[in-house]
């Protein structure tokens, strides 16, 4: 009976076989492999600088836990400050369980956590808000999360908002937008997007070159706190899922093909058309908008009779003060 394969570097028992890199790695060397990828992406794409403040939005899921854990590890060496943000959407069972998990994550990696509880500040959970405005939960959820993430980053005077998108997610988005010929959207799928002074903080994607499988292996092997449960509102069978399946079988035949696409895309981003939409300042809350009001202020005005952006910003400033993070 064979004992399994051995690490290409040290000869210990391998826990991961990385086909595209022709490597078999033990636990220690696998964790280093993923951490190096993230560090390399940060340096190659200039994602963060010394003295920066970085906010990482954590959900309790594997990708944001991998990201937070690695960003915490690299923070000393690269000289930036890291803050975790959890948005409690008020989805029954799911939100509470994940909230407990990120509290544990914050303790484990030793970085401060800001929790924004949507029900506490709006008086409504995200599903309740969606019901009131008669829109799908996932679309309202997207608006609420985007708004709060940006608002927290602005209030903390952060230079970047780190997102947990992995390589497989990004390749699937690129392909979906390609099929729809939304080339301007593809221009936003690089390793970073720019900030708009005072209105919006740029996003960075340090897991740009990390496969989804590597992200799962990372949390499992490093014993980083995470929950594998899925949001009850997630729908399978959407185009995005089908594209992912298709890409997986392509990757099976041509290991590394996804990685190659994203590397080439990062080099070509400049040649994609930029969104032509004119940006403005929301009249109610002062953050980024594409018309008079931002999407968040529009939705909350519709549901509650009053735009709530300014209230949310005030709530966040209070939280930041309470935690002594200002």
């Amino acid at each position: 009976m064979h004992q399994g394969v051995k690490c290409s570097i040290c000869g210990e028992k391998a826990v991961a076989i990385i086909r595209y890199a022709r490597l078999r790695l033990c636990k220690r060397h696998f964790l280093e492999f993923v951490e190096r990828k993230v560090e390399r992406a940060i340096r190659r794409y200039g994602l963060v600088g010394r003295g920066d403040r970085v906010v990482v939005a954590v959900s309790g899921g594997k990708d944001s836990s991998t990201l937070a854990s690695i960003l915490a590890k690299l923070s000393g060496k690269l000289g930036y400050k890291l803050y975790l943000l959890y948005i409690d959407l008020g989805i029954p069972v799911y939100s509470k369980a994940n909230r407990e998990k990120v509290v544990e994550l914050s303790k484990t990696i030793g970085k401060p956590l800001i929790v924004v509880d949507v029900k506490e500040v709006l008086g409504l959970t995200v599903p309740e808000l969606a019901f009131k405005v008669r829109r799908p939960v996932c679309s309202v959820c997207g608006v609420v999360k985007r708004y709060i993430m940006n608002a927290v980053a602005v209030e903390l005077k952060a230079s970047a908002l780190a997102m947990g998108h992995n390589l497989d997610d990004l390749v699937a988005y690129v392909l979906k937008e390609f099929f729809n010929q939304n080339l301007e959207q593809i221009s936003k799928l690089g390793p970073r997007t720019g900030s708009v002074e005072g209105l919006a903080v740029g996003r960075i994607r340090p897991l740009y070159e990390v496969y989804e499988r590597e992200s799962l292996l990372y949390v499992l092997l490093s014993r980083t706190p995470f929950l594998p449960d899925e949001c009850p509102h997630v729908r399978r069978g959407t185009m995005e899922f089908k594209i992912k399946e298709l890409l997986d079988s392509l990757e099976e035949s041509f290991p590394g093909i996804k990685f190659g696409l994203m590397r080439r895309l990062a080099k070509n981003l400049e040649s994609y058309p930029k969104p032509s939409q004119k940006l403005s300042r929301c009249k109610a809350c002062g953050l980024i908008a594409s018309g008079e009001l931002c999407s968040f202020c529009k939705i909350t005005k519709q549901a509650l009779g009053e735009p709530m952006g300014a209230r949310v910003r005030e709530y966040i400033r209070r939280k930041i003060l309470e935690l002594g993070l200002d």
Partner: protein
């Protein structure tokens, strides 16, 4: 293999050829008759799952597709792709 021993002598031999698999997320439990020792790759094939799409864990330890599982093992099979 399960030996039934009565007062020091073997009175029966049962071959228990099953591994117990718990799917994550979801928590569904599946029992697979593997007969004897098989590779993780083969186990996933019998479950109708792709090697790259799933990670198999035994007793908290991550297995590669080349590792083997034996009858009586209790495993967790994590789906790689998560939504949302």
């Amino acid at each position: 293999m399960l030996l039934v021993v009565v007062e020091g002598s073997v009175v029966g031999v049962f071959v228990v050829g099953r591994v117990r698999v718990r799917m994550v997320p979801g928590g569904d439990v599946v029992e697979v008759d593997v007969g004897g020792v098989v590779s993780v790759r083969e186990l996933l094939r019998r479950l109708g799952l792709s090697v790259q799409g799933y990670v198999v864990v035994r007793g908290g330890e991550v297995l590669t597709e080349e590792d083997v599982v034996s009858p009586g093992d209790e495993l967790e099979v994590y789906r790689v792709a998560s939504g949302g």
